[in-house]
Symmetry: C2
DNA sequence: TTTAAATATGAATATATATTAAAATACTTA
DNA sequence: TAAGTATTTTAATATATATTCATATTTAAA
C-alpha cells in the first residue's frame, strides 16, 4: 500500500482535472499561446490571430469555459471584451509538455 | 494580429491536448501521484492504494489510456503488470497547478 | 433612433469519453 | 491439465463535451 506524499484531496484532484480539461483543447491551448505574447487581447484579435479557423461563437464558448475555470479573466471596454490570463504561471504547462518531449 | 513566439504546430497542439485530457481525470491524477512515490507499481498495488474506490476494470481502462498517450509504460512479470512513468517530468504538472493556486 | 459591430447565449445535435458488467486471456500453481 | 488469480478486452450504456446555428444583448456611431 503506497502512501502519498503530496496528499492532494479528492476535491483538489477534481479541481485540477477540471482545469486540465479546460486547457486540453487545441484551440484553447492556442489561445493561451496568443495571450503569452500579448495581453490582454480582444475576442476579435484572438479570432483573427488563430491559426485554426474558428467560428466566433465557438471562440466565445472556449473563452467562457476557461474563464469559468479561473484560467482567464475579462474586462469589457466599449464594444470589445479584453481577455487576459489570471496567472501567467499557467504557461509553464507548455514548458512541462515540451520537457516531456510531448512536442 | 498577434505573432506566436513558441510556434507550436497544429499537430503539436493536438498532441498536447490529448495528453492533458489523458491526465485530466481525478483517478488518473491520483495514479500519477502514486507513481511519484513508488515506481513501478502493479495494477493490484494501485488498486489497493487508490483513495477513490475504483473497479479493477475501470482502473485498467485508465492505465491503458495513459499508456496509449505515452504517459505510462508497463511490463508484464508473471501474473502482474508493472506500470511506471515514461518520464517523471510529467509530475511537474502538479507543481504547475499548485503554483497557479489551483489547489 | 436606426444601424452596425462585437460578443454572448441557448438550444439542438454530434461526438467523445466514462462507466459498468461480462467474458476472454494469460500466467501460475496444485 | 484443471483451477485460480491478475489483467485486459469488448460491448452496452450513460454522461460529458464540442460544434453549429440562430438569436439576443450591448455599445457605438451614423
Amino acid at each position: 500500500m503506497v502512501h502519498l506524499t503530496r496528499n492532494i484531496t479528492a476535491a483538489q484532484l477534481l479541481k485540477v482535472s477540471e482545469v486540465l480539461k479546460a486547457i486540453g483543447h487545441p484551440v484553447r491551448l492556442e489561445i493561451l499561446e496568443l495571450l503569452e505574447v500579448k495581453e490582454p487581447l480582444t475576442v476579435t484579435e484572438i479570432l483573427e490571430s488563430l491559426q485554426t479557423p474558428t467560428e466566433q461563437s465557438m471562440l466565445s464558448h472556449h473563452l467562457i469555459k476557461m474563464k469559468d475555470k479561473g484560467i482567464l479573466k475579462c474586462e469589457k471596454k466599449g464594444l470589445h471584451v479584453h481577455y487576459s490570463l489570471v496567472d501567467r504561471k499557467i504557461l509553464k504547462i507548455f514548458d512541462c509538455m515540451e520537457n516531456c518531449s510531448i512536442f
